[in-house]
């Protein structure tokens, strides 16, 4: 696997080739979901609708960046023997902050996501980046790495959510696109675009996220053969 290399010590906050690589690598070549196969649990849970996936993606980007920056800035103080627990505290704190802020300013989303927001704590991507990157790099590079990984995760989340919501409910962001009108329960004759389409309930259920992610991983590796693990 092409893991992000440890960035050499440099002075100043330049944005050169290495920094760009930090940002773009996790989007494709080193994507947390399709290549590192991390964060699958939450990718199953929140991808029934695109709206939830988007809020989740934003929350993970936020947590990723700040957890990386905080860990990185106190990395020299953290005693080695408790470093995992310290990382966990940082993540848990940030997730609680996200939860409290959502509850105050985006109550509807909070209601829909409440359990899954808490689950960011157990999202291996965040912890993985702290352990693999932030513990060894400066805050600036760590921020870029967090941003890249958060977005890389978010993109896959949105793709999966799109497939599941579109075929499972015939909707995108809650707007009816495919299948009979919202009255279908009572009135099956009236229909919108492609009214014959019967929403596939399997896509709403959790197993479908597995299929969809697997297909994405397959397609990704077919497109970039160097990612195939030959061992």
């Amino acid at each position: 696997m092409a893991d992000t290399a440890v960035v050499e010590k440099k002075q100043g906050l330049t944005f050169g080739k290495k920094e760009r690589k930090l940002l773009t690598d996790p989007l494709s070549e080193n994507n947390p979901i399709t290549v590192q196969v991390l964060g699958i649990c939450s990718a199953l849970a929140v991808t029934t609708g695109m709206k939830n996936a988007l809020v989740m993606a934003i929350a993970v980007v936020f947590v990723c960046i700040f957890a990386n920056v905080i860990t990185s800035s106190i990395r020299k103080m953290i005693p080695k023997s408790v470093r995992m627990i310290v990382q966990l505290i940082i993540i848990a704190t940030l997730v609680t902050v996200v939860e409290l802020v959502l509850k105050a300013y985006a109550f509807e989303s909070y209601k829909q996501l409440s359990v899954f927001i808490g689950l960011i704590i157990t999202n291996c991507i965040v912890m993985g980046r702290l352990e693999a990157f932030a513990m060894a790099n400066r805050p600036y590079e760590s921020a870029l790495d967090g941003l890249g990984n958060g977005i890389g995760y978010g993109i896959i989340l949105l793709i999966v959510a799109f497939v599941r919501e579109f075929f499972g409910k015939g909707e995108i962001f809650g707007a009816k696109i495919l299948g009979a009108t919202p009255d279908y329960w009572l009135n099956t004759s009236e229909s919108s675009i492609m009214g014959w389409y019967q929403p596939n309930n399997l896509m709403v259920l959790f197993p479908s996220a597995m299929f969809v992610i697997a297909v994405i991983i397959w397609a990704h590796r077919a497109w970039k053969p160097q990612l195939v693990d030959v061992s």
Binding site: G49, P79, S81, V82, L100, L186
Partner: protein
């Protein structure tokens, strides 16, 4: 490197900083949280009479919810004998301002029926018609489900319902809240036979048969559907005495 006491000190300092930060944030946002919670349940109450409002419910604003609650809704708290509990008694019991909207409904649901305090919202439509919104709470598949049932002034015909749930499966049990067409089915159903006998509703698999009392079940959500049926049929009985008094 680090010895044990240094490690301990680091952890202690770190956890206290974190604890302080979170406590501050929690306290700072508390009033906003409470406001949101209250507004959310008010909106759920209004959702039961969504069709009777003068404005489009799907785009209702927080201010409009508060305004309708102030102007068009008379809220009271009753017991299962149909007696309206005076505000002073409620305040003594810890209900803020003695208002039904401040009742702890989760706690009330655990009380036996004859000790339960029940909220009633009397909604007056702009044309003068009255609707009574009552509250029910029960069990779905995973956790609690609850609903607001609006009755027309005959206290028999359902004018609208709104359900909510704590943890039903999205796409299956959660459809009781999300599927507007399913919720629409309840409108016009009757709770009582013409002779006054309570029959309640049935959530029937394989399609509604009795046009007065049956609602079509959601496929894949049998237990949640049964929960809705059970919740309505058991909890509305508690309001019976109150309805009787109103009818007279």
């Amino acid at each position: 490197m680090h010895n044990t006491s240094q490690t301990l000190r680091f952890v202690l300092i770190m956890t206290s900083i974190v604890a302080m930060l979170l406590a501050l944030l929690q306290n700072g946002l508390k009033s906003k949280h409470d406001y949101n919670e209250a507004l959310y349940s008010k909106k759920a109450t209004l959702a039961a009479v969504a069709n009777q409002l003068d404005i489009d419910f799907s785009s209702i604003s927080s201010e409009q919810v508060t305004e309708i609650f102030e102007k068009q809704i008379k809220q009271s708290v009753i017991n299962d004998e149909g007696v309206v509990i005076p505000k002073e008694d409620l305040e003594k019991d810890g209900v803020k301002n003695g208002k039904a909207e401040n009742l702890d409904l989760v706690k009330q649901d655990k009380e036996p029926i004859d000790e339960r305090l029940l909220p009633v919202y009397e909604f007056t439509k702009s044309d003068g018609n009255k609707y009574y919104i009552v509250y029910t709470r029960g069990k779905g598949l995973w956790d609690a489900i609850w609903g607001n049932i609006a009755l027309e002034s005959d206290l028999n015909t359902i004018a609208g319902v709104s359900f909510d749930h704590k943890a039903e499966t999205p796409g299956l049990g959660a459809e009781i809240k999300d599927n507007k067409a399913w919720v629409k089915q309840f409108i016009g159903k009757k709770l009582y036979e013409p002779n006054g006998e309570f029959v309640g509703l049935e959530v029937r698999k394989g399609g509604a048969k009795d046009p007065m009392h049956d609602v079509d079940a959601i496929s894949g959500a049998t237990i949640t559907g049964d929960g809705v049926e059970e919740m309505i049929n058991t909890d509305i009985v508690a309001y019976d005495a109150y309805f009787d008094k109103l009818r007279k």
